[in-house]
Subunit: 438 residues, 2 copies
């Protein structure tokens, strides 16, 4: 960085400690400021952190001091100064300002002030809201969770294989599809990459896809987005029990990573990390039938065969400190591809993993039907046209093997790990029934 | 793995070397077989590799020997046997079969035989075609390229921030949009995450998105898919020159990773890796004006101000052994957000990176307009409704900074690195104008 002809070390707020007592330049935005006559405190943020810069009229001159004094929040700056250790500072350092270039003065009507705002207003200004420390922390934790998922699966020998987004048919029910006009044909946005993963495992053994998935959910709940990201591992020869163990290992790997790498961020957003520590395999397991029994004991009116709603999930999860598996759902309430339990064909080898503290289902998965005749029968029972699924049936014609897989919704996992009330804060630009902007 | 009550080491073909002279089990698919009377050679693949399993009638008995002899290609098997070193074997080992369980006998009409097929036939059977060694290798290389991109950007301090897919307005021109009906509103599938990245850098400094992007390209060329994956880094305060250097480092990082980790796969698909070695920064740079001059010298009829077509790109790239930057395109042929060159406002600080050997543009990028008034003027010149871009204008109202970014098309990069004639082989399930299936 060359300011006024001198070359200085250019660094970031997260790295200033490396340059104690040296003069550096920082580039960022004015988050806040206060002045006491001849001294001004500029709070600078730069994406990597936040730091106090102390400017005195004596050091920087009347003119610059006065211009800085008039700056609005969010103005962009290049600050030059000496890095000083300061045990009272949040990051341990402050900057003794020696010079400053104002890159761009922010207009004086910055919508996101440091006071409280209504959530619709914040969502309308998501592009600015995301600059606040809390939202930044959540986005950083999201990024770490995604990286942890990938590193875990890569380490277990899974190959990243991306499934298509525009598809000719439905995977998870036909009522929540977003239609796309595809050169005169009707296509739909993918609800899951699972069926395509099932093809890929026959080539690569173990695969995962990670991409956006779409459900035209008309429900406005704190758990639903219309566009959400899902990581979906699938493996040939992996049977139900092995799949549950893979889920346990993945969740524990993610928690370990986030607690180690993002502990300070979790603290900043006020997450009680005690609730996330000590979560180790095995996770408790309940069959659907046991879960229904438990709910009845707790006075909840549910009949065997009813699907689980969010309140039921919360009631079950509240009994445990760890995520809990609910397994062996009734065949009739589950998707056509689920493998029946050999001991009881009225139930399937499927499992939902419910997060603690009422965050609901974060993973859904199971063993898939590998028998050709049974799969064909199920397609017919579900009134799905076999013609559309010929390629999927091919996977059972040519070298079918027992196989399983699951999908973890990234936003649900982020909501749980960050302890957020609503999934809308877990993704950079949320899409909900009434929200397509910005 | 428990077969007949005995517990054996279960391993994969890639790991058999660890168990030389031990008895192991392998799970996979029959890729080919041949028999010479009392000995049968079963070629097994399992996703991690391919190995010859030698079965003798004496060791496994008449009955099993005869059943194996009748198996069709792609039948799934659990093979038990002794790992034997064999210097003639491609992987250095073969299996002396001691037992075998047939998991599923493939139907006898497997469409992808070991002979040649037409490409439309192969694309119709993509779910099976992907099992062939060549397609498997390409998918593995693709996966490594994606991982390399992410590792590179993570290592450079970029934060993964996913951009939305369903968007209310266009980023790259309005003629190639896929419309989606969004609860009665008109939405479009994203063509680029760039505009959203520009919001995110003001929070996080350096970000990247990586996801599917969509262009309703009516052209049937060997470089175009309607759905393709793009990795898009963007950084606050990063100016044009710095961006070019980031591109150079990223390309070299990817090549290094692929040559190191996937050298055997490149060899398998017949790629001349000599063409990929020794590619180091700096890459040659031509301004658009220089490129036009060069094309004219080569007898090509082009006028200053014409857009570059694929044949022009190929002609330019063929002059160099490395990827080449073409920079400073005429303002009037580029997108509204491109920063004008301060020395010549008729050109922009934008660059395309052209791969060698005629693979065309693999990266497009540039510095973005950071001045509010200029951006507003450009929106008007391009007849884009300022109302739809209010949020994007906000980024220039509140703390605007010079910034740049680029997008690399994964499939174009895979095609170049693998040396493929057509991008349709670079993605698990390609989508083109006439192809939405399987």
């Amino acid at each position: 960085m060359d300011i006024n002809g001198e070359t200085l070390v250019e660094t970031t707020i997260s790295d200033v400690g490396t340059y104690e007592n040296q003069e550096v330049t920082l580039k960022g935005w004015l988050y806040n400021k206060r002045s006491s006559g001849r001294i001004m405190f500029l709070i600078l943020r730069d994406g990597t952190g936040i730091i106090q810069c102390v400017a005195s009229k004596k050091d920087i001159g009347e003119d610059l001091f006065s211009r800085l004094g008039k700056l609005n929040q969010e103005s962009s700056l290049v600050v030059r100064g000496i890095v000083r250790g300061d045990s009272r500072a949040p990051g341990g350092y402050e900057i003794g300002v020696t010079g400053c270039t104002i890159v761009s003065e922010a207009f004086d009507d910055y919508p996101i002030s440091l006071k409280e705002h209504g959530v619709e207003f914040l969502l309308d200004h998501r592009h600015l809201w995301m600059r606040t420390p809390r939202q930044r922390s959540i986005l950083l934790i999201r990024s770490e969770i995604i990286k942890a998922c990938r590193d875990f699966l890569d380490g277990e020998g899974f190959v990243n294989v991306d499934a298509p987004i525009m598809t000719p048919s439905a995977c998870e029910g036909t009522t929540t599809l977003f239609p796309v006009e595809y050169f005169g044909e009707q296509a739909y946005l993918s609800q899951s990459g699972q069926l395509y993963n099932e093809a890929a495992i026959m080539s690569l053994g173990k695969v995962y896809c990670f991409g956006p998935t779409f459900r035209a959910e008309k429900s406005k709940t704190r758990r639903h987005l219309t566009e959400f990201w899902m990581i979906e591992p699938e493996a040939a020869f992996m049977e139900f029990e092995e799949m549950l163990e893979l889920e346990e290992r993945m969740i524990c790997f993610i928690l370990e990573r986030v607690l180690t790498g993002c502990g300070h961020l979790l603290k900043e957003i006020g997450r009680d990390t005690e609730r996330l520590t000590g979560i180790t395999p095995p996770f408790p397991r309940l069959t659907y039938t046991e879960a229904v029994g438990l709910l009845k004991q707790r006075g909840i009116d549910i009949a065997w065969g009813d699907d689980f709603g969010a309140p039921y999930e919360t009631a079950i999860a509240s009994e445990f400190d760890k995520p809990v598996f609910v397994t062996h759902f009734p065949t009739k309430i589950k998707a056509f591809y689920m493998q029946p339990d050999p001991d009881n064909p009225d139930c399937v080898l499927g499992a939902d993993l419910l997060a603690p503290e009422g965050y609901g289902e974060i993973i859904g998965g199971g063993q898939r039907i590998h028998d050709y005749d049974l799969l064909l029968e199920r397609l017919n029972q579900h009134n799905l046209p076999a013609k559309d699924y010929e390629w999927y049936l091919d996977l059972r014609r040519y070298g079918s093997v027992p196989h399983s897989g699951f999908g973890m919704g990234i936003e649900r996992a982020v909501a749980w790990i960050c302890g957020l009330e609503h999934v809308r804060e877990t993704i950079p630009f949320p899409r909900m029934i009434n929200r397509l902007r910005p």
